[in-house]
């Protein structure tokens, strides 16, 4: 009895048969069903990105113009250039760096 058990092919034999005869399941409507259930695209079209950017810039400019009277801007700018050229330069660099970082983060998402 023990010999019979010992000589009997194990699950490996059956598994080998299964691997050889594995049926190919036709994709029928399966792929279409998966594709319709995928979440909506998260990537915005380029034109929409530009419109959003334009609206944000216009809104930001409007807020600044509302708080800072336009008439004093040239005088303010002259004073800044004359009195604190390093501060003005550093501010510009910082603004560009922040804008670049924001764009980079958005692109990675």
């Amino acid at each position: 009895m023990a010999d019979i058990k010992k000589n009997r092919p194990g699950p490996d034999t059956v598994a080998a048969r299964l691997r050889r005869t594995e049926p190919v399941i036709a994709d029928e409507a399966f792929v279409a069903a998966v594709m319709t259930r995928l979440p909506a695209s998260r990537t915005l079209p380029a034109w929409l990105k530009n419109v959003i950017l334009l609206i944000a810039t216009a809104l930001g400019s409007a807020i600044v113009a509302w708080h800072v009277p336009v008439t004093i801007l040239p005088a303010l700018l002259n004073t800044a250039v004359a009195d604190w050229p390093e501060v003005l330069g550093s501010s510009i660099v910082l603004i560009y760096a922040a804008a670049f970082a924001a764009l980079w983060t958005t692109a990675r998402r």
Binding site: R8, G10, A15, V24, D27, F30, L38, P39
Partner: protein
């Protein structure tokens, strides 16, 4: 020439290319659906639901895929989690009964019976051991890969295989001719 997995994944990530993702689904759907049929006692409807869920999760988390791994292996990690969650929700399952009586030199019908019988034999094990046995015997993954896919200790995988083989031998005695 068809694009390889990495190229297709790159297209999905860069341009949200749905056609590229459809190509990945088409490439692996048969193998994954078959695996899930084996794990669910050959319940085609349940297996297909799980396969759909697996592909949708794969799409959602595609950025987490590391290109040094095989896409198929990663897909199995997701499938395993979907399957384990489904088993928890569904509660206890009924053990499978093997009905086919095989003849030597089996026909197509018998071949199909063999696949169903194996799936039913697997139903006598818990979901974790069932997955281990399927991945080891039918998919020929290494024990280390199985531990990685299922996120469980290597020792657990080894003991599941060792105990499972003996039990399977009894369940499938009729086919081992």
């Amino acid at each position: 020439m068809p694009l390889d997995d990495r190229a297709l994944i790159g297209q999905v990530l860069r341009n949200d290319d749905r056609q590229a993702f459809a190509a990945l689904v088409r490439r692996y759907q048969s193998r994954l659906r078959y695996s899930l049929r084996q794990l669910t006692g050959y319940d085609a409807a349940r297996a297909d639901d799980l396969a759909q869920e697996t592909f949708i999760k794969a799409y959602r988390h595609l950025r987490q895929f590391h290109s040094d791994a095989h896409f198929f292996t990663w897909l199995y990690r997701i499938a395993w989690r979907c399957f384990a969650d489904d088993c928890r929700k569904a509660g206890p399952e009924r053990p499978g009964n093997i009905q086919a009586v095989p003849e030597p030199g089996y026909t197509t019908q018998e071949r199909d019976n063999l696949h169903m019988d194996f799936a039913k034999a697997l139903m006598n094990f818990g979901p974790e051991q069932r997955m281990v046995l399927h991945l080891h015997l039918q998919r020929e993954f290494t024990q280390r890969d199985i531990a990685r896919i299922m996120d469980c200790p290597l020792g657990t995988v080894k003991s599941h295989i060792q105990r499972g083989r003996t039990k399977l031998q009894e369940y499938l005695a009729a086919w081992q001719t």
